[in-house]
């Protein structure tokens, strides 16, 4: 195994290369483009045996990846933000075809207004598409999860697209030390696709894939099968992670639990910002706190039982959502609350919205969230949802609004 310095985009490209992808339909968008650039250079130099096609849009790109996958070709593609939204119609469709391919999404906040930096409203818009979602927090996880994702997508009981998510900038353009899997070991871990029982395109044995189904009864069967397959992806992922650990020595699972065992208070969040929470946990522990981090790696299927077990008996949990569902609030918070409903000994939950559009979450904000959580737990009163936004930011906003000729009228106090 070779130690290398790789960006998140470089790690994703290496993952696709080690998975020996055969087909790469592509369309550019920041901050994902570097993945495609890297792969195209390898294809051009002959280091990869893969067909790359530049498509006219993400809509065509996802269609092409799905079509290749159902005809027995290992396909991979990548997008971000508006690109994912543009391909959304086909994302639902190819998932309905039960097409096993891997889509890399490099998270970036959605327009309007525009940002290049990350939040999770792009990937969460694909939440109900039947695609499996794996969320990475380091460049190491990105390369490893590319291999895991293909195993998961292609396994007989799953057969769904898998989205590997990494945050723009904080991972995509950030170089870190990565243990690059050895190609022979990667081959041993990820057998060629398709397996013998798979659909494989042969001109003399025509098969219609993705046929139209009209009517609710047949429709219900297929839709529920996709749901059951998604649920099955959880134990399947656990099993694949065990195989991975046996070969490569790195352990993964639906949750990462960091110093959670004796923790009374817990941060829950996904993605690369969660490593910042680890740093905060270390600092808080040094100051005498019993606090930890629980980070779902897998978000669809939702790791409900593992989460309930990990949070059982805790005093308080701060859910930090780098997303917002307008008119409801943080999506992770909402889902966790539903998972814990009715569980005896469920912890108090506090909702924080932070890191929208790449806004940083500072060390002192993690410390303050812990303090708010502790106070709320002591009185058993959940605090109102809190947007991480400071008076200084508001002053800067007002300065911009003055230039733009747009000073809004304040309407009472609300959140």
């Amino acid at each position: 195994m070779q130690r290398e310095l790789l960006t998140g985009n470089g790690a994703a490209a290496w993952g696709a290369r080690l998975a020996r992808i055969e087909y790469l339909p592509a369309f550019p968008i920041t901050p994902q483009t570097e993945i495609i650039e890297t792969l195209s250079q390898w294809i051009d130099s002959g280091e990869m045996d893969c067909r790359m096609v530049t498509m006219d849009s993400e809509h065509s790109m996802i269609t092409a990846a799905g079509a290749a996958a159902v005809t027995g070709v290992r396909a991979c593609t990548a997008t971000s933000s508006q690109g994912l939204l543009h391909g959304m119609e086909m994302l639902y469709t190819v998932a309905g075809w039960r097409a096993p391919f891997v889509l890399i999404n490099v998270s970036r906040g959605l327009a309007a207004p525009i940002t290049l930096e990350p939040d999770h409203n792009d990937i969460l818009s694909a939440r109900d598409s039947s695609c499996i979602q794996l969320h990475c927090s380091t460049c190491q996880e990105v390369v490893d999860h590319m291999l895991i994702a293909f195993r998961l997508a292609e396994s007989e009981e799953v057969r769904l697209p898998v989205i590997v998510n990494l945050d723009g900038f904080y991972l995509s353009f950030t170089r870190e030390v990565v243990q690059l899997p050895d190609p022979q070991a990667a081959d041993a871990f990820l057998p060629p696709y398709p397996s013998s029982s798979s659909l494989r395109f042969r001109a003399h044995e025509p098969v219609s894939a993705g046929v139209a189904v009209l009517g609710g009864s047949t429709y219900s069967y297929f839709r529920y099968q996709a749901h059951l397959a998604s649920l099955q992806a959880l134990p399947r992922y656990e099993k694949i992670c065990l195989d991975f650990a046996n070969i490569f020595g790195r352990e993964y699972g639906p949750l990462e639990e960091y110093r959670n065992e004796d923790a009374q208070y817990v941060f829950v969040m996904i993605g690369s910002y969660a490593t910042k929470a680890k740093q905060a946990v270390d600092s808080l522990r040094e100051a005498g706190w019993k606090i930890g981090l629980v980070r779902p790696r897998m978000l669809r299927p939702y790791p409900e039982a593992p989460l309930c077990a990990a949070l059982q008996g805790k005093k308080g949990v701060a859910v930090i959502d780098q997303n917002i569902s307008m008119g409801k609030g943080g999506i992770l918070y909402t889902e966790l609350k539903s998972a814990l409903y009715g569980h005896p000994g469920a912890p108090l939950l506090a909702s924080f919205i932070g890191g929208l559009g790449g806004r940083d979450i500072k060390e002192e904000e993690f410390f303050e969230m812990a303090t708010v959580l502790k106070q709320a737990s002591a009185t058993a009163t959940p605090p109102p949802p809190r947007l991480l936004y400071t008076e200084e930011e508001m002053r800067e906003m007002r300065a911009l609004q003055t230039i733009a000729g747009a000073i809004p009228t304040v309407q009472g106090e609300s959140r």
Binding site: L5, T7, A112, P113, F169, Y170, F173, T174, R175, E176, V177, S272, Y273, T275, K276, K278, Q279, A280, D282, S283, L284, E286, A287, W289, D360, K362, E363, E364, E365, F367, E368, A370, T371, R386, L387, L388, Y389, T390, E391, E392, E393, M394, Q401, I403, A404, G405, A406, I407, P408, T409, V410, Q411, G412, E413, S414, R415
Partner: protein, 308 residues
């Protein structure tokens, strides 16, 4: 953990410098994180990049808030508020600036808390702004006191692999020359520990008020707001009109200027608005009488006496 932030302009090797330093740390067995951050991806626009290095796994992520060292590859950025160069500068921070001004001038002018060290432009990279990033990374590598010349040499070879051999050689020798030069100084960049949870200052969070009306949409109602952005600060080359050669055609340069930064005065002479001219030099190419010449921005501002 070491935390180093590089500031400069697109084209001055700022990202490359951060990668070279990151690679040198990696060679010495450190855990490393390096990353660039840019808005407008354009030559001359302000960019920065940062490096973290530690003997233990790094969990911090994103922009460095409290740097141990701030490297300023281009001193014309020092007063630009948007570049936020001195953000998080503390007493222990070393501020390394490519500048012909004495360090005390900068300390006094910008009330800099940390130590300031200036490397003269004329010497750094033989005066070429494209090599200043290399001079900086060589100097910083030495000032850290924990990285060997061999690690730097290896890092340069690996990170400059996309350059042609002459350019790579010139960049490498500049960096190594500055590594050697710093042997004479007593300054050492000190690493610092993470923020303590016992002594932090609470963030002044605000309860977001609901506001009404179309003003809460991301729209700009006022006209000509782009005038407020001094894009002239992006310029690395300055077009200068020789009015003895200009034939007052009155329209070519001003029409082709993509920024609308050339207007024609009442006598029919074009006048360049240097506050907004980005130095693209389209005017220079268009002028039929070759009345427009380009000068490197540093030299132009020196000649016109703008630099004190």
């Amino acid at each position: 953990m070491y935390r180093i932030r590089f500031h400069g302009r697109g084209g001055q090797g700022v990202k490359t410098a951060s990668r070279i330093l990151g690679r040198a740390f990696f060679k010495e067995g450190y855990d490393v994180q390096d990353a660039p951050r840019y808005g407008a991806e354009r030559r001359g626009a302000p960019i920065f990049a940062y490096v973290r290095a530690s003997r233990t796994p790094i969990h911090e992520r994103g922009i460095i808030q409290r740097p141990d060292c701030i490297v300023v590859v281009d001193d014309t950025l020092m007063p630009v508020p948007a570049a936020a160069i001195l953000q998080g500068c503390e007493q222990k921070t070393l501020v390394l600036i490519i500048s012909d001004l004495p360090a005390e001038k900068w300390t006094h002018r910008l009330q800099i808390q940390g130590k300031v060290l200036c490397l003269p432009k004329s010497v750094a990279g033989k005066g070429s702004p494209l090599l200043w990033g290399m001079a900086c990374v060589g100097a910083v590598t030495r000032l850290l006191g924990v990285l060997s010349r061999e690690a730097l040499t290896d890092a340069l070879r690996q990170e400059l692999v996309t350059l042609d051999s002459a350019a790579a050689e010139q960049s490498s020798s500049t960096a190594l020359q500055y590594f050697d030069k710093m042997a004479a100084t007593q300054i050492v960049i000190q690493e610092s520990s993470p923020a303590a949870a016992t002594t932090y200052t609470s963030p002044r969070w605000l309860d977001m008020p609901m506001e009404i009306g179309p003003q809460t949409a991301p729209a700009i109602y006022a006209g000509a707001t782009s005038e407020k952005l001094a894009t002239g600060l992006w310029r690395t080359q300055r077009p200068i009109i020789d009015y003895t050669v200009c034939n007052r055609c009155w329209w070519l340069c001003s029409t082709f200027c993509p920024e609308g930064a050339i207007h024609v005065d009442s006598e029919g002479f074009p006048q360049i608005d240097y506050t907004h001219c980005k130095g693209c030099l389209v005017c220079l190419v268009q002028c039929p009488t070759h009345a427009i010449q380009a000068l490197p921005e540093q030299e132009a501002s020196r000649l016109s006496g703008e630099e004190k």
